[in-house]
Structures are given as structure tokens and as C-alpha cells.
Amino acid sequence: MQQTAPSDPGLDAEASERRRIVTSALAELPAEQRETLELGYYGGLSQSEIAERTGQPLGTVKTRMRLAMQKLRSQLQILRSEGGA
């Protein structure tokens, strides 16, 4: 039988807040950048594979991925500062 760690209300609240911040940051990304990011992170695809999958030039995929990461990084910093995280 699988055992689970006992729930900590404080940790659960922190995790929920962090998830909200990241989700918001991702939502701020342009659709094509978010798609590129998700295909790379969740899909486990390389940039070449993403280019092949989406039909976009490899250079475009690289640019989108870089911009997505930079914006996500900035958004997370902003949201953390706003939320005191």
C-alpha cells in the first residue's frame, strides 16, 4: 500500500501560491512562445524536434524559447516581489 507524507497546511499554502505565480507568468507569454516552452519542457522535445513538429524554422524556435524563458524569469521576479514570495 502506498504511503503519503502527512499534510502540512503551511507548506500546502506556500506551494499553492507558487503555483499561482508560475501559472500567471506562463499566461503572460505570447501563445507561440508558451507553446515552444511547453513542447520543450513538458514534451521533452529538442529545439530541432520542435521546429520539425511546428514547421517553424529552427532559428525561430530558438528565439521564441529564449524570449519565453527571459519573460518567464522576469515575470516570476515581479510576481514574487508583488506577492512577497
Partner: protein, 293 residues
């Protein structure tokens, strides 16, 4: 390996590296650069922290086999590359910890003897490539050697055929010449009589047009040990040595000689038994003789 990747190029690929979305060849070059670039290492650490945050927004999805295998492969590749990068990053530390660079009295950290550094992995990979390449080379070498052997065999066979043809041509020419020597219009034939109990018989064909002499004999016994037969052209003034001969095991004799002699000067043809190597003049009575007149 792209050890020469510039900082600008490598830094532009840090986001993709943090996402583990670089292609293998590019990833290796970027990692090699990061290993020696403190600025990129700091930037990469921040980006990896950002990437780790993305997981928080993830909605659990069923893991289909294709996606699971793809991610597993990438994780394995990433783990190997990260280990290589770590090895490179600590390479200098190891060098400084070497006995020659270490101050006396300092106890070095123990290194796992089983762990191979990146250079060793690359060397092993290069070795594997070399082995595969060597296998191909050996295969090509064997094919080349086999073709060369076949070519040599063909050339040898062709050479043998040419030699056989030359031999046949020579034999044919000899036969033609012999026929001419035996049947020509100016051929004189002399029959040699014998007083031996074994009754050898012989004929001398003198082709006066070509100064060619052909001696044919039958039932000639083998001479005693250390002895041979010698043919003489007898003229009124001299006994001319025409050569020595030994009969075949069946008693057959056939010898040819070329000697210019005036038509009327030949008195007789004789064969004597002489010591091996022949004699300047006959030393025994003729065993076979024919008169030319």
C-alpha cells in the same frame, strides 16, 4: 566537441540548455563553454531555478509510453552531460590537488578510481569509433587483398598461358625446321650400321642448304657409368666432333647440330663410346658408322 564556442553563442543557448532542449551536438559545445565560464554558470543556475518553477504549474498528465521514453532518454543524456560538465568544472581543482601542486602536509581528497573523466569518456568513444572504423578498414583491406590476389592469379594464369603458347610456338618452329632438315630437297640421308649385338640403328640427315645435321637412332643401349656417346663427321683429313649424346631410357636418340661442311668433303658419320664429356679424337672403335659415299 565545440570547445571553441564563443561566449556570445553559448550564452544565447543557456535558456535552451536549462530546458534541456538543445540538440546533442550543440549541447556539448555549450556545456564545454559553461564549464570554464563563471558568468555562464551563474546565469545557468538562475535559469535552471526558473525552469524548476515551471513544474509547479504543471497539470498532471497521463504519461504515454512515447513521451515517457523520450523524456527518459533525454534525462539519461542530460545526466551524462552534467556529469561531464562537473568533471570539467573540477578539473582545475584536481590539478591543484595533484601531488606536485599540493603543499606538503595537505591530505588530498580521495578520488574514486572507478570514475572516468570526460576526457576518458571521449577517448573511449573515439576508441569505439576507431574500432568501428578499423573494422571497416579491415573489411576493405581484406576485399582489396582478395581482389589483388585474384588479379595476381589471373595475371599468373595469363603469364602461364603466354609462356605455354611461346613454348608451343617454339616447339612448332623446331618441328617445322626439323621437317625441313629431314625432307628438304638438299637433304642427304645416311644410314648407320651397327655391329653391336643389340643392333642399334640410326640415320643422319644432312640439310646441306642450312648446314643442319639431324641424327636419329633407335635401340641404343645406355653407356657404362662415366661413359657417353660421341658423334663424328669424318672427312679425309679430320674427324670433326659433332657432339655427345645419351640415349633415352627407351633407347631413342635425337640430336641436332649446325656445322658448315663442303658437300664432297664428308666421308663418313660415326658414333663412338667415349669418356663423359667427350674426347678431342675418337678413342674407341665406332659402334655405329655410315659411309657418305
Amino acid at each position: 566537441m565545440s570547445d571553441g564556442m564563443t561566449h556570445e553563442v553559448a550564452s544565447e543557448a543557456l535558456e535552451a540548455l536549462a530546458l534541456d532542449a538543445l540538440d546533442a551536438s550543440e549541447r556539448e559545445g555549450v556545456i564545454a563553454h559553461v564549464a570554464g565560464c563563471a558568468e555562464c554558470q551563474r546565469e545557468l543556475a538562475v535559469l535552471e531555478s526558473t525552469v524548476s518553477e515551471i513544474a509547479l504549474a504543471a497539470t498532471p498528465l497521463p504519461m504515454v509510453p512515447e513521451r515517457r521514453d523520450r523524456i527518459r532518454a533525454r534525462l539519461l543524456a542530460r545526466a551524462g552531460a552534467d556529469r561531464a560538465m562537473a568533471e570539467r568544472a573540477f578539473a582545475d581543482v584536481r590539478a591543484e590537488s595533484s601531488p606536485s601542486a599540493r603543499p606538503s602536509g595537505v591530505v588530498p581528497l580521495r578520488q574514486s578510481p572507478r570514475r572516468m573523466n570526460a576526457s576518458a569518456w571521449m577517448a573511449m568513444a573515439a576508441g569505439l569509433v576507431a574500432i568501428v572504423g578499423m573494422g571497416g578498414f579491415l573489411m576493405m583491406s581484406r576485399e582489396r587483398d582478395a581482389m589483388r590476389a585474384s588479379l595476381q592469379a589471373v595475371q599468373a594464369e595469363r603469364g602461364a598461358r603466354v609462356a605455354a603458347m611461346d613454348s608451343l610456338r617454339t616447339t612448332l618452329e623446331e618441328k617445322d625446321r626439323m621437317i625441313a632438315n629431314l625432307t628438304g630437297a638438299q637433304v642427304a640421308v645416311m644410314t648407320l650400321a651397327s655391329q653391336s649385338p643389340t643392333s642399334p640403328t640410326g640415320r643422319m640427315f644432312w640439310d646441306q642448304a642450312h648446314d643442319a645435321w639431324t641424327f636419329v637412332a633407335h635401340q641404343v643401349p645406355m653407356p657404362k657409368s662415366g661413359r657417353t656417346y660421341q658423334l663424328w663427321l669424318v672427312t679425309p683429313t679430320a674427324k670433326i666432333n659433332a657432339g655427345t649424346f645419351m640415349p633415352k631410357s627407351n633407347g631413342e636418340v635425337m640430336m641436332q647440330a649446325t656445322y658448315a661442311l663442303a658437300k664432297d668433303s664428308l666421308a663418313a658419320v660415326a658414333v663412338t663410346d667415349e669418356p663423359m664429356g667427350g674426347s678431342p679424337q675418337p678413342t674407341t672403335a665406332p659402334m655405329m658408322v655410315a659411309s657418305a659415299r
